[in-house]
């Protein structure tokens, strides 16, 4: 049997963004790329593959691809697919082997994963059929407050008196925010209330797999400083965030290509 091609690639096709990582033989990142997933999983997977191969100066045939994320099964050129739960766990363990609890908040899901000493997940909990506690929640609220998603976090951090916002449902929270605007609450207080609600939702998820420091955060939402601030307060511990928190799933997938 011929040996597998040597260049490891991980593709993480998430609900909102698709990420790709191509590794050096020493497991450091040679190149990475992120784009919106869009309507076609295979189109975005192919486009990322093209970018990665161009940047690394290699051909597709030389790569061993592992796919993860919600679109993982649709990446037909992947050698195999592995869930994002396992991949995030492996990716984060590679970067910081001390992390025992990982909180990953993406566009449409949030996960709490307890990572074992071997880097494999020991237990996990995902949000169910509800977008409160995910990136979508913040997207909706930013739109209502008429600020960009990037501005929402910094705005919230200006608040000294967060508004009370329900955390049970994105749709109802949206009408609640509109109500707060009507009652004259300051935009920064409403924004802070939104992040507080989100953090409390994620905390209850994390509690189900036990909050054990040190705690890592990944996923697009972890880039939001107000989310990290309120989550850290809610779970009463400091958070560790990798340099590229959106890429740990793809990194974990690429690392699996070595196995």
């Amino acid at each position: 049997m011929a040996e597998l091609p040597a260049i490891p690639v991980g593709l993480d096709i998430g609900s909102t963004t698709a990420k790709g990582v191509l590794l050096n033989p020493d497991k450091t990142v040679l190149t990475k790329y992120l784009q919106n997933t869009g309507a076609s999983v295979s189109a975005s997977a192919n486009s990322i593959m093209e970018r990665l191969c161009d940047a690394a100066g290699v051909s597709r045939e030389q790569c061993t691809v592992i796919a993860t994320g919600y679109g993982r099964a649709s990446v037909d050129f992947a050698m195999r697919n592995v869930t994002e739960i396992t991949c995030h766990s492996i990716g984060v363990h590679h970067l910081n082997p001390n992390i025992r609890l990982l909180i990953d908040v993406g566009g449409q899901d949030s996960k709490a994963i307890r990572i074992g000493k071997n880097g494999r997940p020991e237990d996990f909990q995902l949000n169910d059929k509800c977008s409160a506690g995910t990136g979508r929640f913040l997207e909706v609220m930013a739109r209502v407050l008429d600020v960009s998603l990037d501005e929402l976090g910094p705005l919230a951090l200006k608040s000294k008196n967060p508004s009370q916002i329900s955390s049970t449902c994105t749709v109802f929270a949206e009408s609640e925010v509109i109500g707060r605007i009507g009652s004259g609450d300051a935009p920064e207080d409403i924004a802070a209330g939104v992040h507080l609600a989100m953090a409390s939702k994620v905390r209850s998820l994390a509690k189900q797999v036990k909050i054990e420091p040190p705690v890592g955060v990944t996923g697009g939402v972890s880039l939001n400083p107000a989310f990290r601030h309120y989550l850290s307060k809610q779970i009463e511990c400091t958070l560790w965030m990798p340099k590229d928190p959106q890429f740990t799933g793809a990194l974990g997938a690429a690392l699996l290509a070595f196995e």
Binding site: V82, I85, K129
Partner: protein, 408 residues
């Protein structure tokens, strides 16, 4: 093409005995129709002491079983929708909605609507919804409801609870006597109790054979072959069916044949299955996953040993009060841990059934405790047994895949 298909071995082995289920279902359907035409048909809940009406020559059919059939036909959302059109909430149990929907529009549900009842027999040992559900059916059909009230059992059943349930059984006999002009006789009751005990015994033996590796039965096998022990306990054809099933199971064990072609991972299933997607289990079978045990089909145990009406009724108090769903969370956790140990299981899947609050309540807490006690991982997936609108396949796939990846 056909030849090629035959050559490809399926990842799971279908039971030969399963072929007889259709005959039993046909026979039951015919008998129910006849009983209804003769003014002697009752609708009963799955945990009802059915030996009593059977021994009194009163016909029985099961709306819950009809719900499962509606689910398996993949018409759950449509039939539940008929009940929703009447104003019932989507939050109501989908067995109840399927039952109310098919009673409202029987012509639209040829396989799943039941013949008109002359009485409705509800026992709340399986859930509290049955009372309101049977009340609704009573309003629609004019049949009276008899409620056998079995207070939940936490630890040992208290003497005054026993006396209360015993009194309920007396009242049941009185209700059936006056409604159907019949009596409960020692000999007939003893005979029905014997047949019921024999069937339960054979069923229990078949379940316990799944301790073998590989397991001779998978989840879907048990969910399908449990039908007669639910609906025909106390009849001869039920005993005959389980004799055949147990013979086939023993044969598989002797030949070291498993239900799943290449059994690698053994899991426990908790709760009612999603009837509309039983292929879920077969898809996992293709990956070497078998389910040698589940909490749902292990609901019956014990033989009835009493010699006359009074002593048999005494025994039935404990038997029907101590069913799995009528006990506290601790008993459920103990049972799951015991099954994991006895059947040497690697992990568990808890199905959080939107419809069945009684079954699903406390799963989050019990998952943690079961893992702590047994050391095996588990996962909770969410959905419904009949209403496929509540079943998100992609979400479930990710959770189950992640669980399986833990065994690598």
């Amino acid at each position: 093409m056909t030849e090629e298909r035959e050559k490809t071995e399926k990842p799971y082995r279908k039971l030969e005995t399963q072929a007889f289920l259709q005959q039993i279902a046909f026979r039951q359907g015919f008998e129910a129709l006849e009983a209804s035409e003769n003014g002697r048909l009752t609708w009963v809940t799955s945990g009802f002491p059915v030996e009593i009406p059977i021994a009194m020559d009163v016909g029985v059919v099961y709306p819950e079983q009809a719900g499962a059939i509606i689910g398996a036909q993949k018409i759950g959302p449509e039939v539940c929708g008929y009940a929703e059109d009447l104003g019932y909430s989507q939050e109501l149990c989908s067995y109840a909605r399927a039952s109310i929907g098919s009673t409202q529009r029987p012509d639209d549900v040829p396989m799943g609507s039941l013949p008109p009842p002359q009485a409705l027999l509800a026992c709340n040992n399986i859930c509290g919804t049955v009372l309101r559900w049977y009340d609704a059916i009573s309003e629609m059909t004019g049949a009276p409801v008899f409620l056998l009230d079995t207070p939940p059992v936490e630890g040992e059943q208290l003497p005054h609870h026993r006396a209360y349930v015993r009194n309920g059984l007396n009242e049941l006999v009185g209700f059936l006597s006056s409604t159907f002009n019949t009596t409960l006789e020692d000999d007939k009751f003893r005979n029905v109790a014997d047949l019921s005990s024999n069937a339960i015994n054979l069923w229990t033996n078949s379940l316990e054979a799944c301790k073998n590796k590989p397991s001779p039965l998978n989840c879907a096998d048990r969910f399908l072959t449990m039908a007669p022990v639910v609906s025909s306990r106390g009849t001869e054809h039920c005993v005959e069916f389980y004799e055949m099933l147990f013979a086939e199971v023993e044969d598989r064990v002797k030949q070291n044949i498993g239900a799943v072609g290449d059994e690698k991972i053994r899991l426990l299933w908790d709760n009612i299955p999603p009837w509309f997607i039983l292929r879920f289990f077969n898809q996992l079978a293709a990956r070497g996953v078998s389910f040698p045990a589940d909490t749902y089909t292990h609901a019956w145990s014990g033989a009835i040993e009493g010699v006359d009406v009074s002593s048999i009724l005494d025994e039935m108090v404990g038997m029907y009060s101590n069913v799995y769903l009528n006990k506290g969370l601790n008993a459920k956790i103990d049972k799951m841990c015991q099954l994991i140990k006895d059947y040497d299981l690697d992990g568990f899947i808890m199905f959080s059934v939107r419809s069945c609050k009684r079954y699903s309540l406390g799963q989050m807490a019990s998952k943690e405790i079961v893992t702590e006690r047994t050391g095996v991982p588990g996962v909770i997936i969410e959905g419904d047994m009949v209403d496929s609108r509540l079943f998100n396949e992609a979400q479930i796939q990710t959770r189950v895949d992640a669980l399986l990846e833990m065994f690598v």
